[in-house]
Amino acid sequence: MSAAVAAPVRRSTAARRHVLERLAAVGFLLPTLALVLVFCYFPAFRAGYTSLTRWDGFNAPEWVGLENFVQVFADADFRQSAINVAIWTLFGVPLAIIPSFIVAELIFRLRSDRLQYVWRAIFTAPLIIPPVVSVLIWQFLYGPEGPINTVLSTLGLESLTRSWIADPQFALFALIFLGFPWVSAFNVLIFYSGLKAIPREVIEASALDGAGRWRQFFTIEIPLTFGQWKLLLVLSIIGVTQNLTTPLLLTGGGPGNSTLTPVLYMYQGAITYGNYGFGMAVGTILFVVVLALSIFNMRILRTSE
């Protein structure tokens, strides 16, 4: 009797607990999901949709199919921007990764833990400068009367002085090389934690085998930090391709189109010229390319691991 009653009661408490757990899940997740759907996914879909319309931002969008994409691919400015960003990626990504790895490696090899901490702190501190400020300081360093030219003049190299970001030949590289010596606090700390995670036995064994510092560097430290390289490679490619602040503040894409990038072109198309469909077509193309690059990187690096 009691068992016959207990069974359905137990089942119903289990069911009730199940419902309660689902309700709890809804409560815990609701703010995140609402925010993400309204302010991340919806705009992303809207970007895709807008790219298929002609839209000035005010009147109703008019469906035009792939016309914007045809127009973008036929556009000489867009092709120039694609070339620019390719060059930027080619130089900018190694600059974002390698100096930081070298610094992390040097810190890792120090004997004293205390000193290691001090150096990590020293390389973390430049975070205090907001990126906008750093860009504007470099604008002055590159300027016609800036310190780079002053140094060149004192070395007797007046012929080389110029306004580095106003010279079509040099402007793009001036933007790429901005931030010398390119040590990023974030990247240093990531590489450092990767190096720290290398098992002690591996390093000790190689030292017993008489491996020199370069052998250890190439056969242990680089391969065993592959996860970090992969992560930073993907992040840096995304970072370089979506860097809007630097060209927007310094050059506006000029002189000529020498520093025009696709993101800037997207921004100008939509915000400056009010051609939202065209701007979003540029954005969509860029998104597809960046996504493909990220997946490609993951694949390549996974197979070689």
């Binding site: 997740l29 970007a47 954005g283």
Partner: protein, 303 residues
């Protein structure tokens, strides 16, 4: 990219090491010692990294003509007026910026912790679908949504209001926070939760009394990352808040010094404004350096 190491191999390694003997014992694993050259190279790189900061602070205290002659020389007599002029022209932006950043960062911390707890501890059917919905955002770069987001904020009538910035910031901070914190909460030993359950604790209490305190260091590290990122953000605020409502990074970019300040020193006054703009983050970094250094690498490991 999962690197939650179980304690056993580590403990085994330490045990083995003590067993192998103290004969060839060194305080650290024996890498070839590079200390002196390494310190020198690090010092040179660090000096070069600090050139822009030095340039900024130093010339913020000088006059235009002085800077023109010798951009890196020290000030003969520090010109504190530059800072007064700079504050005059950009000080208005600080209260609202600090408010926007702190509300956003606190909001991100609370909402991501709650979601991370749900993904780590609750059982519900569509869990992995929802998780990948959030995780997938890490693959959608910010630029693709920039313009439609701006349009949407216009549609919502939030343009020119702090909420027009806070809501997108809250949304933008979700993906990284949820992913990192889920893995952190999952690595909390099951027994702690079991013990709480025996005491009759429901999910809300387990969340508040176990998950939140144990995830705290990581939450602080993520919050610091968010503070630095949001405080320095430029493009979105430049579209959404203009004029008197501008945030610091927009105010110092479109900086016009007060009309009564000396013309020749315009750029130095601007540098003073930049220096002031660096102070909030500088204080944060100095006070919480420990969290920056350890927390950044921890969150990277959990990604």
């Amino acid at each position: 990219m999962t690197a939650t190491t179980t304690p056993t191999p580590l403990a085994a390694a330490t045990a083995a090491e003590t067993a192998v003997g103290t004969a060839a014992r060194s305080p650290r694993p024996r890498l070839r010692d590079l200390s002196l050259p390494a310190n020198i190279v690090l010092a040179v790189v660090a000096l070069l990294s600090y050139v822009p900061i030095y340039f900024m602070v130093n010339n913020a205290l000088r006059t235009g003509p002085e800077m023109q002659v010798a951009p890196f020389a020290l000030p003969s007599a520090p010109r504190w007026e530059n800072f007064a002029f700079a504050w005059e022209a950009s000080g208005y932006a600080y209260p609202q910026t600090l408010l926007i950043v702190s509300v956003s960062v606190l909001g991100i911390a609370v909402t991501t912790l709650a979601s991370a707890y749900a993904f780590a501890r609750l059982r519900f059917k569509e869990k992995e679908i929802w998780f990948y919905t959030i995780f997938g955002l890490l693959l959608i770069p910010g630029f693709i949504t920039l313009i439609p987001l701006y349009v949407q904020i216009v549609d919502f009538g939030l343009i020119g209001t702090p909420w027009g910035l806070v809501l997108p910031y809250l949304a933008g901070g979700q993906a990284l926070g949820v992913v990192v914190l889920r893995s952190a909460i999952e690595s909390i030993p099951e027994e702690l939760f079991e013990a709480a359950k025996l005491d009759g604790a429901g999910h809300l209490w387990q969340f508040v009394s176990i998950a939140v305190p144990l995830a705290r260091p990581l939450v602080i590290a993520l919050a610091l990352l968010n503070v630095v990122g949001l405080y320095g953000d430029y493009v979105l605020p430049s579209l959404i808040l203009q004029g008197e409502g501008a945030t610091v990074s927009v105010a110092i970019t479109g900086f016009t010094p007060p009309a009564f300040s000396p013309n020749l020193d315009t750029f130095n006054i601007q540098l003073a404004a930049f220096t002031i703009a660096s102070v909030p983050i500088a204080i944060l970094v100095l006070v919480l350096m420990r969290y920056f250094v350890s927390g950044l690498s921890q969150s990277a490991v959990r990604l």
